[in-house]
């Protein structure tokens, strides 16, 4: 997909990978809408993108809130036109420090699923039909190796990411013939606030910079037509074909 002029919606856009994705997409000429709960940090990211000559807009909503889905997508389309690119980047780890499964309140699991799985599905349901009609669109979900490995204390988050990958697999198959590409990407371990929340003792020097990983995401979106429907990609191993 040629990103120039395309309308891109990035959730979790106020920091870390989401903010870096917003900047990278805007640098390629996308019209970017960033979503996050807190207006303050979001506005800072948007101001930075604008100061570098890019187009960006801030929408302070919670993707885990049922009422917010149509408000996010409607306002975004009013600001930048029909959505061509969605990156489901917002996610929550749930309560910290992350508990063992036997100590995880099921209500906390439900809350994690609302933000990490049901929220993205609501947005897919809204923008997917418009993409089908226009025969173009790319939907990317940010995954994690916790989706495929049994790391102790990563239960709720890992379940949500595994389910998000599977949602993308099925949606990717359903929409492939309609010109819409859906895939998920494991970005690897990055030097972000979320990583520090999950593993405060990690050596930050060993972690990838979100700006570098965002460049890989952008290259994947540009090559979306060559990516198998519903594929699960690993950022550090992916090469443009």
């Amino acid at each position: 997909m040629d990103i120039r002029g395309k309308a891109a919606l990035v959730t979790g856009g106020s920091r870390g990978l989401g903010a870096a994705l917003g900047e990278a997409l805007a640098k390629r000429g996308a019209r970017v809408v960033l979503v996050a709960r807190d207006q303050g940090p979001l506005v800072t990211v948007v101001a930075k993108i604008k100061s570098e000559g890019g187009e960006a807009h801030a929408l302070a909503f919670d993707v885990g809130d049922k009422e917010a889905a149509h408000r996010i997508t409607g306002a975004a389309a009013a600001l930048v036109g029909p959505i061509d690119i969605v990156v489901h980047n917002a996610s929550t780890l749930g309560p910290l420090p992350m508990p063992f499964v036997l100590d995880t309140a099921c209500e906390d699991l439900e809350a994690v699923l609302q933000t990490n799985l049901v929220g993205p599905m609501r947005i897919d349901k809204i923008v997917g039909g418009s993409m089908v009609l226009r025969k173009t669109g790319v939907i990317v979900s940010v995954s994690s190796d916790a989706a495929v490995s049994g790391y102790p204390q990563w239960g709720a988050y890992g379940v949500s990411k595994a389910a998000l990958d599977q949602l993308g697999r099925v949606l990717g198959a359903e929409l492939a013939d309609h010109g819409v590409r859906v895939f998920s990407v494991d970005p690897g371990e990055m030097d972000t606030q979320m990583h520090a929340d999950a593993m405060p003792d990690a050596d930050r020097a060993t972690l990838a910079r979100p700006e570098r990983v965002a460049e890989t995401f952008v290259a994947m979106i540009e090559s979306a037509e060559t990516i198998a429907p519903g594929a699960r990609l690993i950022a550090s191993e992916w090469r443009r074909s």
Binding site: G129, L133, H178
Partner: protein, 334 residues
């Protein structure tokens, strides 16, 4: 007068009943909604209005503390201005004629809505019609509108309709202030089945306006000037189609305006009735419309008056539901 009972709730789409009228054969019957795709053939082009529905209704107060509701006629433009209709205190549960009249506002008067959204009156063209300008940046205005606004409600639906109930599956940009509801039966399953039959689905965007204000003078002047945009791909498909089926009266207005003027993007005040000779459209998927509405006037361009009368009686006797979110009516030339 022929008047359909309205739907009282937003029923699931699969509960929608489908009335099919074939004009040349004077054939009328009910079909299962799931069979809708089977009524079309390869070479047919179905044209939908892909406008999403704006939360166009805002409750607020004047500077003197009077409660008002405004209904936007279009999304705020780049200079944050929008045309609007104003109502007095109360909500949609009270018929408009029983609601308090709106306070008479003039240029410079201010309105404050929820979440701190503010507007100033730019001009007034009648007691109820205003042009207003929102304060703050356009980004803030759009975000605030989506926080504070509600979809325009219908007196016949008991519970307030949330924003997700008034969107078609393929809705894109929020140009419509009321749902282009004819497209409601076209879920993804229907679109997928139509595509597999070789039926093309084309799109245009039309700013479907208010269907009724319950103010006799204003209602008689509906529909007002509305904006449309037709992609070149759609115009090409329509030009080479065996048969063109419009989904909704807004699509008829846009395609017939284009046929008359050649303009792909324009505003139109075209009124379509029995005197109008259709140039672009062969069939119509729409709701069940009462005989006195501008929608019904438009049907008379497709159906001779005696047949329209007979079909209405047929559907009425079988309990089809009318108005927004009611049952569906497919009119085919053959």
């Amino acid at each position: 007068m022929l008047a359909f009972e309205p739907a009282r709730t937003a029923r699931p789409v699969r509960k929608t009943r489908l009335f099919v009228l074939r004009v040349a054969a004077r054939d009328m019957r009910e079909r299962e909604l799931v069979d809708l795709p089977k009524l079309f053939d390869e070479g047919d082009v179905i044209v939908v209005n892909d406008a999403a529905t704006l939360p166009a209704s805002l409750f607020g107060q004047t500077a003197r503390g009077a409660s008002v509701e405004i209904r936007l006629l279009a999304p705020p433009n780049d200079t944050r201005e929008a045309d609007a209709v104003i109502f007095g205190a109360g909500d949609w549960r009270t018929p408009t004629e029983h609601r308090a009249p709106p306070p008479l506002l003039g240029a410079g008067d201010t309105l404050v809505f929820g979440t701190g959204l503010e507007a100033v009156v730019v001009s007034r063209t009648s007691d109820r019609r205003l042009r207003i300008r929102f304060e703050r940046s356009r980004d803030d205005v759009i975000a605030s509108l989506y926080r504070a606004g509600h979809p325009v409600q219908y007196a016949h639906i008991r519970e307030p309709l949330p924003l997700w109930e008034v969107q078609n599956v393929y809705a894109s940009e929020p140009w419509a202030v009321e749902m282009p509801s004819a497209g409601r039966p076209l879920d993804f399953g229907a679109l997928d089945a139509l595509r597999k039959r070789g039926v093309a689905i084309a799109r245009l965007t039309h700013s479907a306006g208010l269907s009724s204000i319950s103010d006799h003078a204003l209602d008689a002047s509906l529909p007002w000037v509305e904006r449309y945009r037709i992609p070149e791909e759609t115009a090409a498909l329509v030009g080479s189609a065996k048969r063109v089926i419009a989904v909704g009266t807004s699509v008829v207005r846009a395609l017939e305006s284009h046929a008359a003027t050649g303009k792909l993007s324009a505003t139109t005040d075209l009124r379509i009735d029995s005197r109008h000779e259709l140039r672009a459209v062969d069939g119509l998927l729409t709701g069940m419309h009462d005989a006195t509405t501008s929608h019904a006037d438009l049907l008379s361009a497709f159906v001779p008056p005696d047949l329209l009368n007979e079909a209405s009686r047929w559907a009425l006797a079988r309990g089809f539901l009318g108005h927004e979110l009611g049952d569906s009516c497919l009119i085919l030339d053959r």
